[in-house]
């Protein structure tokens, strides 16, 4: 990429635009999508920017096709992305599963709006968190990230591509409508300061290559299409040759590896931010736009003399259960505000295993929490 293509410097841009620029800086050169609020601005910016940097933008007929085209492009050696919101995310679940099964690096952005169904198309929600984890059928592990600011959207989009390439799977950027449409300062660092990872290629000759023989880290090297490897890949349960293998043994071996290749690397994947946790009696655990609203409540609670910490999740899947488990003994209560009727709060509950109290502060969406609601929940638990 030439320096002209890379918009180094300070900008005032939306979270959606920052997502597109993060993708460009990560060397994403293919975008397939379908217009949907509040993610459309990502498609619009990609349609401008990709031709400038020698990439391809295609507007597909629906989100089923968008996700399939992203997988195809990734097998054509492009870093590839799509961006959508709830209704489109539901349609993409089919081929997110294929992406997991074929071990295809790509990034799927969901700028969450309030559902179910068509819901509140232009307004914020965080109701797709469990869908991100479990939305496609069958067993697998996934990586999902939930940024809180336009700057973090830029940074985490690059990280999402790196994780996708490193672990060979679709990485989900779980933005929300508020972060997507919010305009803020974004600093794009010089190219030399951006560290990029690309998929590992096989170091054996085509005749000796089997597409699903993993290295020690459980991740198999990925051959490029059209280079003589003549590989076969299938959404059916398969063996290391990539051939269908219709038996429980092959299923066991494959699914365990698909899960383990993520779970074994939790420490490498998970990012979170903590503030005033050490002597806290209450910890607020939040992500995305809600973490910023919650911070207002946390500061007010501290002014009132309450020892309250903030645990902001940046990675939401895999869930940082070890961190929560360690805190469970020492912290009396967790307060979990989220724009849904309880999703991450269930994970916090599971992780504390009865050792702390967990209080959900639900909000149904359309706007963000009133910080007073979160403050009141903090007050209640320390009463």
């Amino acid at each position: 990429m030439s320096d002209r293509d890379h918009l180094e410097g300070e900008h005032f841009m939306s979270g959606d635009d920052a997502c597109a620029e993060g993708a460009i800086s990560a060397d994403c050169r293919f975008f397939a999508g379908y217009p949907i609020t509040p993610a459309t601005e990502i498609a619009e910016r990609m349609s401008d920017r990709l031709p400038e940097v020698g990439g391809t933008y295609i507007q597909m007929e629906d989100e089923l096709g968008s996700m399939a085209a992203v997988l195809g492009a990734s097998w054509g050696n492009a870093k590839a992305m799509t961006a959508t919101s709830g209704p489109g995310f539901s349609l993409m679940m089919e081929n997110i599963g294929l992406g997991v099964m074929l071990e295809t690096p790509c990034v799927v952005v969901n700028v969450q709006r309030a559902g179910p169904s068509t819901g509140l198309p232009t307004m914020v929600g965080q109701g797709d968190i469990m869908q991100a984890r479990w939305g496609s059928h069958g067993c697998y592990s996934i990586i999902a990230i939930s940024p809180s600011s336009a700057q973090e959207v830029f940074d985490m989009t690059i990280k999402a591509f790196n994780l996708a390439e490193r672990f060979r799977l679709p990485v989900l950027m779980m933005m929300d409508g508020a972060v997507g449409h919010m305009y803020e300062k974004v600093v794009i660092p010089p190219l030399s300061e951006i560290h990029l990872i690309t998929r590992r290629r096989p170091d054996v000759s085509p005749g000796e290559y089997w597409p699903y023989v993993p290295d020690d880290d459980l991740i198999p090297p990925m051959a490029d299409t059209g280079e003589g490897y003549r590989f076969h890949v299938t959404g059916l349960t398969h063996d290391e040759r990539g051939y269908p293998a219709m038996n429980p043994e092959a299923q066991d071996k494959l699914v365990r590896r698909l899960v383990e290749k993520v779970e074994r690397h939790r420490n490498e994947i998970i990012e979170l931010e903590e503030d005033g946790i050490d002597d806290a009696e209450v910890v607020v655990c939040a992500y995305g736009i809600t973490a910023r609203v919650a911070m207002i409540a946390v500061e007010r609670a501290r002014q009132a003399g309450i020892r309250v910490g903030m645990l902001r999740l940046i990675t939401i899947w895999p869930f940082p259960e070890d961190k929560i488990k360690r805190l469970a003994g020492q912290v009396k209560s967790f307060v979990v505000p989220e724009i849904n009727y309880g999703q991450i709060s269930l994970e916090v509950e599971r992780s504390v295993a009865g050792m702390s109290k967990v209080v959900l502060v639900p909000h149904m969406g359309g706007d963000v929490h009133d910080p007073e609601t979160i403050l009141e929940a903090i007050r209640q638990v320390v009463k």
């Binding site: 050169r29 293919f30 397939a32 391809t56 295609i58 597909m60 007929e61 629906d62 089923l64 096709g65 968008s66 399939a68 085209a69 992203v70 997988l71 195809g72 492009a73 990734s74 097998w75 054509g76 050696n77 492009a78 590839a80 089919e94 081929n95 599963g97 294929l98 074929l102 299409t225 059209g226 280079e227 003589g228 490897y229 003549r230 590989f231 076969h232 890949v233 299938t234 959404g235 059916l236 040759r241 051939y243 269908p244």
Partner: protein, 279 residues
């Protein structure tokens, strides 16, 4: 009865040995199924085209025909039901030097994948689609599908199908395909030649092959063996090149019009890359 056991090893190489995954045989297709015939014709048509095989990728969806990718020794993708064309679109756009072929069935391409078919035609994406039409869903046990003729019986239309079917060739042509041909599995040489032409055609090329499914469609419609269906094709097919594809609908009995219906030039995507890999 004493059946002589053949033990002698032949030194002669199967002409398609380099292009078939022999280590995956035996295949899963039923005796008398037309799919093996179409697969052989595809590979011979490909070799005739002069394209560099390493630069050819095959993408299949789901179903009996969807298994084809798994037997072809090229870079081959067995994807999700209906999405082969969309997957192939991404692959082709990301790497225009590839020749990308979609090899799938009528249910996969015209029902669950119908939207991708018509939009790939509209965009005139430089892909070749080989559509094996056996008038029913074979893999799931012979249910009627988007191409099942009116009155044809299937396991979900035991007294006869009441829905009007798609004419696949007309659908591809109306969508904007630059090349449309139809053959039956009994017209192997014509099919092969058409596949070569389609592979070398720039833009969205579409070859429909009407093919026997003796296990379900044939058995339920008074043509219980592959041979019966092939004989039926032989005595009822007519070759009429250039016929308006709107006039070539297929009924449960009667004539099957075959031939090359469309061969036109139109701007295609991606416009960069030579797409026929220097062959």
């Amino acid at each position: 009865m004493n059946v002589p056991v053949v033990t002698g090893e032949t030194t002669e190489k199967h002409p398609l040995e380099d292009y078939l995954r022999f280590d995956r045989l035996p295949h899963i297709w039923c005796p008398g199924c037309g799919l093996g015939t179409v697969l052989g014709a595809f590979l011979r048509g490909l070799l005739q085209s002069g394209l560099t095989p390493d630069k050819v990728a095959v993408v299949s969806g789901i179903g009996c025909t969807g298994r084809s990718a798994g037997y072809i020794k090229l870079d081959s993708f067995h994807t999700t039901h209906g999405r082969a064309i969309a997957f192939a679109t991404g692959l082709k756009l990301a790497k225009p030097e590839l020749k990308v072929v979609v090899f799938s069935g009528d249910g996969d391409l015209a029902a669950i994948g119908g939207n991708h078919l018509i939009h790939a035609g509209r965009r005139n994406i430089d892909l070749t689609v080989l559509c094996v039409n056996n008038f029913n869903y074979g893999m799931t046990g012979g249910q009627f599908g988007p191409t099942t003729p009116v009155a044809a019986r299937s396991t979900t239309s035991r007294t006869g199908n009441i829905e009007n079917p798609f004419n696949m060739s007309a659908l591809a042509a109306a969508s904007g395909a630059t090349y449309v041909a139809r053959w039956t599995a009994a017209q192997v040489h014509q099919m092969e030649r058409s596949i070569t032409e389609a592979l070398l055609k720039r833009g969205f090329s579409f070859v429909e092959v009407i093919s026997p499914c003796p296990t379900y469609y044939g058995r339920m419609n008074r043509l219980p063996t592959g041979l019966d269906q092939m004989r039926y094709y032989r005595s009822n097919s007519v070759v009429r090149h250039g016929t308006n594809p709107n006039e070539v609908g297929v009924g449960v009995d009667g004539q099957i019009v075959t031939g090359k219906f469309i061969d036109i030039e139109r701007p295609y995507l991606p416009s960069s890359g030579d797409g026929n890999n220097g062959g």
